[in-house]
Amino acid sequence: MRRLLGGRRLDAVHGWLLLLPAAVLLATFTHYPILASLVDSVRSTPRGGQPAVFVGLENYGFMAADPIFWRVMGNNVVFALGTIPASIVLALLMATWIDRRLPARALVRLAYFTPTILPMVAVANIWLFFYTPQFGLLDQVRALFGAAHHNWLGDPSTVMGCLIVMTVWKEAGFFSIFYLAALQHLPPDLKEAAAIEGTPRWTFFRRVTLPLLMPTTLFVLVNATINSFKLVDQLFILTKGGPDNASNLLLYYLYEVAFGYNDWAYAATLTVLLLAILAVLAIAQFGLIERRVHYR
C-alpha cells in the first residue's frame, strides 16, 4: 500500500526524520561520552594551563598500582556476593508466599513491595538511625541484653554488613515482582497433575517450579549484578565510603576522583573499566535471552 503512496525512498526519509530527535540526544549523552571516556583515559589531566597530552596506558598503569582501587573492587565483590544471593532467595520466597492464599495477602504484598518505591537516600536516612552508636535502635535493643555499644558504620569489619542488610531489604521486593509474574504464567495443569499424583509440595517446588523459574532467576541475577555496580546513593548518607575506604564502591570512587580530586583522566579510566564490566554483563544477558527463548 505504502509503495503506491511514495515508495521506499520516502519511507527511508520518514523513518530517519522520526528517529532524528532521539538519535541526536542518544548520540550526545550516551555514545559520545563512551568514546570521550576512552579518549580521555589515554591522555593526561590538564592542569595549571598544561593541556592534556597523549600518555598511552599510563592511567591504566596507575589504576593497577592504586591500592584504593583494589580495595574498592574487593568491596564491590563483597557487596555483590552479600546482596545478590540473599535478595534472590528472599524474592523467591516472597513471590511464592504472595502467590498462595494467605491471610491478609494484600497487606503482606504491600509490606514486601513498599521498600522498592522509596528513594535510596530516604532509606539510608532511616537506617542511619538504626546503626547510630549508643542512641541508635540496634544498640538500644542490644543494651537490653547487656551488650556493649558498637560503632557499626565506623568499624571496617561491620560496615559492609550494614550496607548489605539495608540493600537486601530494599531490593528483594523488587525482584519478587518478576518471580510473581513468572509464577502466574506457569501452566496450571502441572499443579493439578502433581495434586492428583500426591507429589509433596517441596518436591514439586524443587523438581518443577524451580527449573521453570530458571530464566527469571538468570534475568534477576544479571540485573542484580548490574545494580550492585550502580547503587551508590546510600554511601553519600551513611559512610562517604569510609572508614578508610572500607565501604567505598567503584561508582562512588569514580565520583570522588572526578569531583573531589578533579583528576579527570583517572576518572575516565575508571569509567572505561566500569563500562567494560557492564559490557561483559550485557553479553552474559544476551546469552541468557537466547536461552529464555529456548525455554519457551
Binding site: 505504502r2 503512496l5 521506499r8 527511508a12 523513518g15 530517519w16 522520526l18 528517529l19 530527535p21 532521539a22 538519535a23 540526544l25 542518544l26 549523552f29 550516551t30 559520545y32 561520552p33 563512551i34 516472597m94 508466599w97 494467605l102 491471610p103 497487606l107 503482606v108 504491600l110 509490606a111 514486601y112 513491595f113 513498599t114 521498600p115 518505591i117 522509596l118 528513594p119 535510596m120 537516600v121 530516604a122 532509606v123 536516612n125 532511616i126 542511619l128 538511625f129 538504626f130 542512641f135 531489604w169 521486593g173 515482582i177 510473581l180 509474574a181 550502580k230 551508590v232 546513593d233 553519600f236 548518607i237 569514580l254 572526578a258 579527570w264 575516565a268 569509567t271 559490557a279 550485557a282
Partner: protein, 262 residues
Amino acid sequence: MENAAALLLAVLWILPLAYAVWAAFHPPEYATRFDLTAPLTLGNFQRAWAVAPFARYIVNTVLLVTMVLAAQFVLCTLAAYAFARFAFPGRDLAFALVLVQILIVPEVLLVENYTTLSRLDLVDTVPAIGLPYMASAFGIFLLRQTFKQVPRDLEEAAQVEGAGVLRVLLSVYVPLARPTYLAYGLVSVSYHWNNFLWPLVVTNSVETRPITVGLGIFAAPETGVSWAVISAGTLLSVAPLLVAFLLFQRQFVQSFMRAGIK
C-alpha cells in the same frame, strides 16, 4: 507455619518505615521510647519545613519528572514508530545503538556528561538533570514492541482516508498503546522521583535541586538536626510517591512486571 513465616517477614519488612512514622509524629525524646501514651505532634514536620526549603525541592522534582516524561513520550513515540513501521538503511544498526543505553545508564557516564553540559552552559538547570534521560532506550524498546502488534489494516484504512505519517501515528498507534504509556510512565516517574547521583552532580542551588538531593543535604550529620525532624523530612520527601503507590499498587506492580519482560 508458612503463613506465619510470611507474616513475620512482612512485619520485619514494614518495621523500618513504621519506625520512621513513629519518630516523625512524636516529640524527639520519644525517638527510642515506645510509650503508647506519648503525645502526638506535627512539630517535627514544622521544624523540617522551616529548616530546609522542602516546598521548593518538591516543586523542582515535579517540574523535572513532568518535563522528562513529556519529552520521553514524544521522542520515544517518534523513534519507536520509525523502528516498528519503516524500512530505512541502517535501521538495525541504529536500533542496536539505542539498546546500548538500556545497559549503560546515563549516571555511569556522569563525568563526560557533566563536561558536555558545562560546555553547553546548562549546569544547575532543571532541564540539564533531565536531558541525558529524555531519549530513553527503554521507552523506545517498549513502544516499538507495542506498535509492532498493531494490525496493518488499521493503518491502511487511515491512509486511504488520506492521513499522513504523523496523522496515522496519532490516530491509530498512540491510542492503542495507552497501557504501555501508563506502564512506562509509572516506571519513569518513580525512577526520576528517586534519582540522586546525577542530579547531585549537576545541581548546586536551591532553585534547581530535586527533593532527593535536598534531603541528602538536609540529613547530613553536620546540620545537627534531631532524628525526629530528619524522619519527618524523609517522610515529606517520599509522601507523594508513596501515597500514589498505595493508591495504585496494582498498576505499579503490573508496570514493573511489564518492564521486566524484555
